[in-house]
C-alpha cells in the first residue's frame, strides 16, 4: 500500500528530525519573559542585543507576562521553573514576592550604581516598592481620542469619558475594576486623595458603579492593551483607555488622527523579577543580566524605542531622540513634569485586599 509507506517514511523522518533536536545542547541560554509587541522589541534592542553581544548568552523571548503570576505559581508547585527573568507590573511583583515565588534583591549589591556613584537604592528611590522588584519603567494608563471626531472642543480632562453629551460616541474601557472604579469616583467629584477610602466602603463601590452605569451603553469593554489602538484606528470608538506607549506609537509612528489626554492617568511601574528556586548557575546569570539591563544607560536607551519613562532618576537626563523618528522623547515620558502634574497614583495595598471582591461585583455588574 503506497499510502502506508508514505506514512511510515514521514513518521521516521519526523522522529529522526525530532531526535536531532536532542543533540543541540544549549547551556548558554536564558529565557526572558515579557509582554511582546513593541515593548519586547524595545527591550530586545536596548537590553538583549547588547547583553548577548557582550556575554554570548542566547536570549529567548517569551511573551507570557500577562499570565506570569499564574504560570510562575504553577511552575513553583511543579518544581519546574523554565523562566530566568520575568517582566511584570508592580502589583503582581509584590504578590509574587509575598508568596515567596520571587528572589529578594538587595539593590545596593545586586544592581549597578548610577554613573556618579549614587547607590541604586537611592537612584531608584520610591520606585522600589517591593523587595523582589527591580523597576524598569514608569508607564501610565490613559485616554486617547480621535481628533477628527471630537469637533472643535478637544477633551482635556479624563471626565470627558463620562460626558456623553459633549462627546457622543463609543469609548473603550478595560473590563476590570482596577482604574475604571477610580476614574468613576474621580469624575463623580471625589477628591484624588479620598478615592481609595471611599472605594473601601460599600456605598463608595455602589457610587462608582452607578457612575459607570451612566455610560454603560456607550462602552466597548476591552481586555488587552492592543484593543484600544485598533478601535481608535478603525474609528470604532471616539476615545479609549490604553497604555501611553501604545498611544504614542499610534500617534507618532502610525500617524493616526489621535491625541492623548494627560489627566487622571494612572501611574504604574513595570520591572523585573527573578523567580525563586533557580539553580545557582542560572540565578547568577539572571542576576548578571539584571545588573547589566537596569543600569542608567540601558534604561535611558529603552526610551529611544518606546515612550515609557526610565525608573532611575539618573536616566532621565540621558533620554534622547526616538531611534527611527528622531523626535525628542523626553516630553512623551509619563515622568515628564508637565505630564506628571495631573496624574494619579495607584494604591497597590488597596487592590491586593479588594481585588477579588470588587472584581466579582464588577463582573456581575457588567453581566447585568
Amino acid at each position: 500500500m503506497n499510502f502506508t509507506k508514505t506514512i511510515m517514511t514521514t513518521a521516521s523522518a519526523a522522529l529522526i528530525s525530532s531526535a536531532a533536536f536532542a543533540g543541540s545542547h544549549m547551556s548558554m541560554e536564558m529565557t526572558i519573559v515579557s509582554w511582546g509587541g513593541a515593548y519586547s522589541a524595545s527591550q530586545l534592542k536596548a537590553y538583549h542585543e547588547p547583553y548577548s553581544a557582550k556575554t554570548g548568552v542566547t536570549i529567548l523571548n517569551d511573551d507570557s507576562s500577562s499570565t506570569a503570576v499564574a504560570q510562575l505559581r504553577a511552575m513553583n508547585e511543579a518544581n519546574n521553573i523554565t523562566w530566568d527573568v520575568v517582566d511584570v507590573e508592580a502589583a503582581p511583583a509584590m504578590q509574587l514576592c509575598d508568596e515567596g515565588l520571587a528572589l529578594e534583591i538587595d539593590p545596593d549589591t545586586m544592581l549597578a550604581p548610577a554613573p556618579d556613584g549614587t547607590p541604586a537604592s537611592e537612584d531608584f528611590g520610591d520606585m522600589l516598592v517591593s523587595e523582589c522588584f527591580i523597576p524598569q519603567i514608569v508607564y501610565s494608563t490613559t485616554f486617547g481620542y480621535r481628533t477628527d471626531l471630537v469637533g472643535d472642543n478637544p477633551p482635556d480632562s479624563v471626565c470627558a469619558v463620562f460626558d456623553t453629551k459633549t462627546y457622543p460616541g463609543k469609548r473603550s474601557l478595560f473590563s476590570v475594576p482596577i482604574n475604571q472604579m477610580e476614574w468613576a469616583l474621580l469624575c463623580d467629584g471625589v477628591a484624588k486623595s479620598d478615592i481609595y477610602d471611599v472605594l473601601a466602603t460599600e456605598e463608595g463601590q455602589d457610587r462608582a458603579l452607578a457612575k459607570l452605569d451612566t455610560i454603560k451603553g456607550d462602552v466597548i469593554w476591552v481586555s488587552s492593551g492592543s484593543d484600544t489602538p485598533q478601535l481608535l484606528a478603525d474609528g470604532e470608538v471616539i476615545m479609549g483607555a490604553t497604555y501611553n506607549g501604545r498611544l504614542f506609537s499610534l500617534i507618532e509612528e502610525q500617524k493616526q488622527p489621535v491625541a492623548m489626554i494627560w489627566d487622571g492617568q494612572v501611574m504604574d511601574l513595570d520591572g523585573w523579577i527573578i523567580p525563586a528556586g533557580l539553580s545557582p548557575e542560572r540565578q547568577a546569570r539572571a542576576l548578571d543580566y539584571i545588573m547589566f539591563a537596569t543600569d542608567t544607560q540601558r534604561l535611558a536607551d529603552q526610551a529611544k524605542y518606546i515612550s515609557y519613562g526610565p525608573a532611575r532618576a539618573s536616566s532621565a537626563p540621558l533620554v534622547g531622540k526616538h531611534a527611527d523618528l528622531g523626535i525628542d522623547m523626553a516630553p512623551h515620558m509619563p515622568t515628564a513634569p508637565e505630564n506628571l502634574s495631573r496624574a494619579f497614583l495607584m494604591n497597590y495595598d488597596f487592590w491586593a485586599d479588594y481585588r477579588d471582591d470588587l472584581d466579582a461585583k464588577f463582573q456581575a455588574w457588567l453581566a447585568k
Binding site: F21, P229, Q230
Partner: protein, 403 residues
Amino acid sequence: MSEPKNSFLSPFVFTLICMAMMGGLIGLVAGVANGSGPLGLISGALFMFLISFLAIFLRQKELIVRYSICFFLIIFGFLFIGIIGVFLGLILGWFSGWFLYWLNLGRYRAKLQPYLSAGQVLWHYTFRVICGVIFVFLITPILVVMPLSFNAQDFFTFTPEMLRFDPDGYSLKHYKDFFTNNEWQRSFKNSLLIAPVATIVSVSLGTLAAIGLSQSHVPFKRAITAILISPMIVPLIISATGMFFFYSHVGNFLEDRIGLDKNFVGYVKVILAHSVLGIPFVIITVTATLVGFDSSLTRAAANMGADPVKTFFKIQMPLILPGVISGGLFAFITSFDEVVVVMFVGSTNQKTLPWQMFTGLREQISPTILAVATILVAISIALLVTLELLRRRSERLRGLSPG
C-alpha cells in the same frame, strides 16, 4: 430550445414577469436607500420589464442584447452613483442579461430531469441559492483576511487608500516580517514538527484502540469509549492546567533522572499533550468506519494463512483508510490550531504558530498574522487541489468514470 411542459404561461410572459420581479426587488432596495421604496419598486419593475420586452421582441442576437444591457446599465450607474456605479452596473447588467436568456430560452431546465414540475425546478434553484449563501458565509472571513494582509498600516482596517486601490495603501511588509522575523520562523518550524508527529502518535495508537473497540466482545466498552474520548469534552483550560502539572513531573523525571536534553524533553511533552487531544477524533472516525467493516474478510484472510499483521495491513487498513485519514486530519488541525495547552505545557523553545499568533493579537495587533493565514490558505488550496487532480488522474488511469 425546450418549452416548459407543465407551464400554463408562455415563456415570453413568464420571462417578463420574472424580470419585472427582479427589477422590482432591486428597485425596492435602491428606492428605500433614496427615500421612497414604492417608487423604486415600480420604476425598477418597469425598467426591467421594458428591457426584457424589447430584447425578446426585437429578436436580436443574444450577445448584442447582453452587451447593450451591460453598456446601458454602466452608463446609468455612472450618471447616478459614480465610479462604484460603473462596477454595480456591470454586475447587474451581466447578471440581468444572463438571467433574461436563462429564463426565456428555458436553459434552467437543460440539466434537470424532464419530468420535474415547475415547483420542483423552482425549489431546485432556490436550494442552490441557499447553499451558495452558506458557502459565502463560510468563505467570506477568509476573503476579508487576504486583502488586509497587504495593508500598509499595522491595523486590521480597510484604509481609504486601500478602498481607492491606491498602491500606497498596499505593501508586502507583513509578509517580509513573517519571512525575516526569527520568532515567526521558529514558531512555524515548531508547528511543522509538532503537529505531524502528534498526529502520527494519535493516529497509530487511536487506530489500534478503535480496532480493539470494534471487536464484538469488549468488556466495559462504554466506559472505555467514554475515557478515550474524554480529552474532547474537558474544557481546554482545565486540561491545560492539569496537564501542566503532569508534564512538569514527567519533564523533571526525564531531565534529571535520565538526563535527556531539556529542549528535546520540551518537544516530547508538547507532542504527547497534543496527541492526547487528537485521539478522540481518531477514535470516533475510525470506529465509525469499522462499524460497516465486514469481519468475515479478516477471517477469510486468516483462513488463507495470513498472519494478523499482514491481515491488518493488507485487508483492514486499506478499507478503513478513509476514516483513518479524516481522523488524522482532525488530529492534525487540533494540534496545528491549539493555543491554550501549548502555552502551559511548552516552554519558549516549543512556541508554535498559534501561540505566536495569540501573543501577536493580544499584545500588538499586527497584520503579520493575516499574512501567515493567507500563506497557509494558499498552501492548503494548492494541496487540496493537487490531491483532487491526482485522484481524478488515478481514476482515469483505472478507467473508472468519475463518480
